[in-house]
Amino acid sequence: MSVSTPRPKKVNQIGLSRSDYQGRPSTLCSGCGHDAISSQITKAFYQMAVNPHQVAKLSGIGCSSKTPTYFLSQSHGFNGVHGRMPALATGALLGNRHLVCIGISGDGDTVSIGLGQFCHLLRRNVPMIYVVENNGVYGLTKGQFSATADLDSQLKTGAVNDLPPIDCCSLAIEMGCSYVARSFAGDPKQLVALLEGAISHSGTAMLDVISPCVTFNNLDNSTKSYKWAKEHEELLHQIDFIPHFEPIEEVQYEEGSTQEVEMHDGSHIRLKKLERDYDPMSKESALRMLSQTRESGEFLTGLIYVNPTAKNFIDLLDMSETPLALMPDDKVRPGPEVLEAAMKELM
């Protein structure tokens, strides 16, 4: 642990080194997209200088859901049951509103068995990061199609998918999610920026990250393979993230070439326009863009929709600042006079 080991040169805002954010060794297949995501999560939390002790990392069941063991060893982890992480995470935040919560799930965990809870989590805008490590397949059960597999996409087993995919991003927007992004395990630079943005967001931040399953779903004609994703990835914009504790340097960009989104915690997301002229703060254009690219078969990544000011579930409940878990007894057990009064009413 950082304090006991000689402090390495490079440390973050709160004096912790990158290694303080590392996890235990992965037991996933070498080359698995999920491992790439884990290291970006490590990096993002390090760079954002989040106190790991304050972090709650939760997951469902699946190869993806194993990954919370592989990052942030100093954080509190909960590997729950299949498809039900949203409920556990919601409850954890009810119990302690100050937890920085990140949930990891797979496409099967999220849109097959977990679809209902996923939608209701988004609808409540529970303040957490929700990462879908999307490989279009059930990895841990050895390669059956999940509900995100694209039509006609083919598995190593030869099976061809004949049902339309569920698009996590458009579904999330439909459900009122306030931070919706798509990325690719093979695009670390963008992914880490999107994760940092997610950390600084006050509501649910849903990241749909294409994360190839090298063992079961990495054929070139699979839309969830490295090759396909690399070849088809199109950046919606170039993303830079400026954390709240760093000064925003005063660079001059040509009129309209960039857009700055100020996040809840004072951080900024700077979007440099590429081909498209895209405004991630409009639901309608987000949905239109998603359906168009779905038709055209493009694989578009970036910050698809954000509403930095949406009220989150905890605010809605108007709870005390003190986490409920830490309420002193005298705050949670009313006095004898209260019971007496209640009894009187019933006499």
């Binding site: 304090v3 002790h53 982890g77 909960f78 556990l88 209701h120 878990a325 949670v332």
Partner: protein
């Protein structure tokens, strides 16, 4: 005068004999007709006369327009169980009036709306026709309101016939309509007219009387769901996640109401609680578990179907040792079953819930004060044992009206169990989440957010060793499972012990739990007075069993296990527990969906006793 002896042959009374403070009044109406207020007023008026009462509502599983029966039992002997025989029928529902009248035994009383012409049905009953709606018409013109008012008219008439003081009726009305003066005046007026009509047009010819006593001084009337909610409030529960289901909804709804009143922090004006209506029962329990993990005192309430849906999550909480309290207000299953009927059918489900080797603490309150007390205790047990704790009541306890002594303020401080703070960690210098440090099977835990390098651990529903690391090693698994079993042994020292009452020279025993206990005082009285049989009585208050059960069996020749399900679920658990005494168990099973009545049990026992004698 004195306790009447009931029997299917009908009422045996000498001419002129009075039956005082011992009758059951059934009001037959349709639901959604607003009879709730008048039923309640009538019940309260008797209660305020100092006569013990209980009120049971038999309602359909729909919202409006179907037959509903509200039964008030007045008993100065203090019998508050259901009684099969109805003494006084108030027939307000034309749809069921004929059948209602036909099921009465001879000599009973029928108060009814003139229009129904019930006296033609049979001639061995005492009839009191009253033009309820007509009278209501005098009070109010609006047709819809007239319906409501007609209800309060029968209260007046019935009160007059039974000798209930109008002052008490007025007081009861005032209490129900808290301060709504206009409503109060209307209802009082209607009640008086109802009484007036009786005085003017009818002469009393039945033996039933209500006379003032002092048996309800300082008592309260409450339903079990409210009592459980109140208990949870004083247990310091902070997180409730629930999904609506009859008959459990009012546990959560009352809790929410109480919280809004009692648990807004005066300093900040903010809530010291969170109540979430989840999307279903899986999510409800999941949220409660998440909150329990985070360190909040969390709960959910449900009924049978919800218990089934919670199976997977409960197993997770058992295996990862997360505190959470689950209220199961049992209704009649299987499946959707009879959602508005009572039962004790979930015993096996609760005790063995979820796949794999699992076992849970289940608490069985059988009175209002136990609903309160056990609810408080459940949260201490959950955090002390780091396990899901079930509080099992049923529709009868949960939704009916019960008289009770006021609840005692918790005498013990809140027990948060074995939680290590950052300071503790600093002091002890090591932490193994799942290690049996104290030999009681209960490990120590830290709460997420504890700011100490040793605090973090990883919860997983898969195999884990003492350090909460993933493992598939046989010895780790066996070690874990054996400790979990040990924990149940520790639980036995913490849960409420059964209550045993031994009678001099009694050879026959009765074992009960939950609402089944209610009619047992009366039942044992019947066995004593009618058959001269003394009974050793044991009331189980929790699972797992403790030594007392075996001891009880040691002192009985035969033990009647009385419960409200088809399969005698508790009876079998008892048989497993008592080993070689299992042959002593005789199951008495009541599974009609109606609350248990003493007579049923007495008859069952006597039939069996007689059979044995031959």
């Amino acid at each position: 005068m004195g306790i009447q002896t009931q029997s299917q042959e009908g009422l045996q009374v000498e001419p002129g004999q009075e039956i005082v403070n011992d009758c059951s009044i059934q009001v037959a109406t349709v639901n959604g007709s607003g009879s709730q207020s008048s039923n309640n007023v009538l019940m309260r008026a008797i209660f305020q006369m100092g006569v013990p009462i209980s009120g049971k509502n038999l309602f359909p599983s729909n919202i409006a327009g179907l037959p509903t029966w509200f039964t008030i039992r007045a008993s100065q002997a203090g019998y508050i169980g259901r009684k099969e025989e109805i003494d006084i029928l108030v027939a307000m529902n034309s749809a069921t009036a004929k059948e209602d009248v036909e099921t009465l035994t001879p000599g009973r009383v029928v108060i009814y709306d003139e229009k129904l012409k019930l006296s033609e049905i049979r001639d061995d009953l005492i009839y009191y026709p009253v033009p309820f709606s007509g009278i209501a018409g005098e009070v109010i013109k609006d047709i819809r309101l007239r319906k409501l008012i007609a209800n309060i008219v029968y209260v007046g008439s019935t009160a007059e016939l039974l000798g209930i003081e109008m002052a008490e009726v007025e007081a009861a009305i005032a209490k129900w309509f808290k301060g709504k003066q206009k409503a109060i005046d209307l209802n009082v007026k209607a009640a008086h007219l109802g009484a007036q009509y009786v005085r003017d047009h009818l002469t009393k010819s039945d033996p039933f009387q209500i006379q003032r006593r002092n048996k309800t001084e300082g008592k309260i009337i409450i339903d079990g769901n409210a009592a459980c909610a109140l208990g949870s409030v004083f247990a310091g529960a902070t997180v409730l996640a629930w999904y609506p289901i009859t008959p459990a909804s009012s546990v959560s709804e009352s809790f929410a109401d109480y919280m809004k009143r009692y648990r807004i922090d005066p300093d900040t004006g903010k809530a010291t609680f969170a109540v979430v209506q989840a999307e279903d029962e899986l999510a409800a329990l999941g949220m409660a578990i998440g909150a329990g993990w985070a360190g909040a005192r969390s709960m959910t309430s449900t009924s049978g179907p919800g218990i089934s849906l919670m199976s997977e999550f409960v197993g997770l909480a058992y295996f990862t040792e997360i505190p959470v309290v689950i209220f199961d207000v049992q209704r009649t299953g299987p499946s959707t079953g009879l959602p508005t009927r009572t039962s004790q059918g979930d015993i096996n489900s609760l005790y063995y819930l979820s796949h794999g080797d699992t076992q849970y603490v289940v608490l069985f309150p059988s009175s209002m004060d136990e609903c309160f007390e056990f609810s408080v205790m459940a949260f201490d047990l959950a955090e002390r044992l780091q396990q899901p704790i079930f509080v099992a009541t049923d529709l009868d306890l949960g939704m009916n009206n019960w008289m009770s002594d006021p609840f005692d303020y918790p005498d013990k401080p809140i027990d948060r169990g074995k939680v290590l703070s950052a300071e503790d960690l600093e002091r002890v210098g090591e932490f193994a989440r799942y290690k049996d440090v104290d030999g009681d099977g209960i490990p120590y835990r830290t709460l997420p957010g504890t700011d100490h390098p040793l605090a973090a651990y990883f919860v997983r529903g898969s195999g884990h060793n003492e350090y909460a690391r993933y493992t598939e090693r046989p010895e780790d698994y066996v070690n874990l499972m054996d400790r979990l079993a040990r924990k149940m042994e520790t639980a036995k020292t913490l849960i409420p012990q059964p209550i045993a009452e031994y009678q001099e020279g009694a050879e026959i025993g009765i074992v009960c739990y939950g609402s089944t206990d209610v009619p047992m005082v009366e039942c044992r009285e019947q066995l004593r007075t009618e058959h001269g049989i003394e009974i050793n009585y044991m009331r189980i208050r929790a699972l797992p069993f403790t030594s007392h059960l075996k001891e009880f069996f040691g002192r009985c020749k035969r033990v009647y296990s009385v419960e409200q399900n088809r399969d005698g679920q508790m009876g079998d658990l008892i048989r497993l527990e008592v080993g070689d005494d299992q042959g002593k168990v005789v199951k008495v099973l009541h599974y009609k969906g109606l609350p248990l009545d003493a007579r049923f049990v007495t008859d069952q026992i006597m039939t069996h006793e007689k059979r044995k004698d031959k």
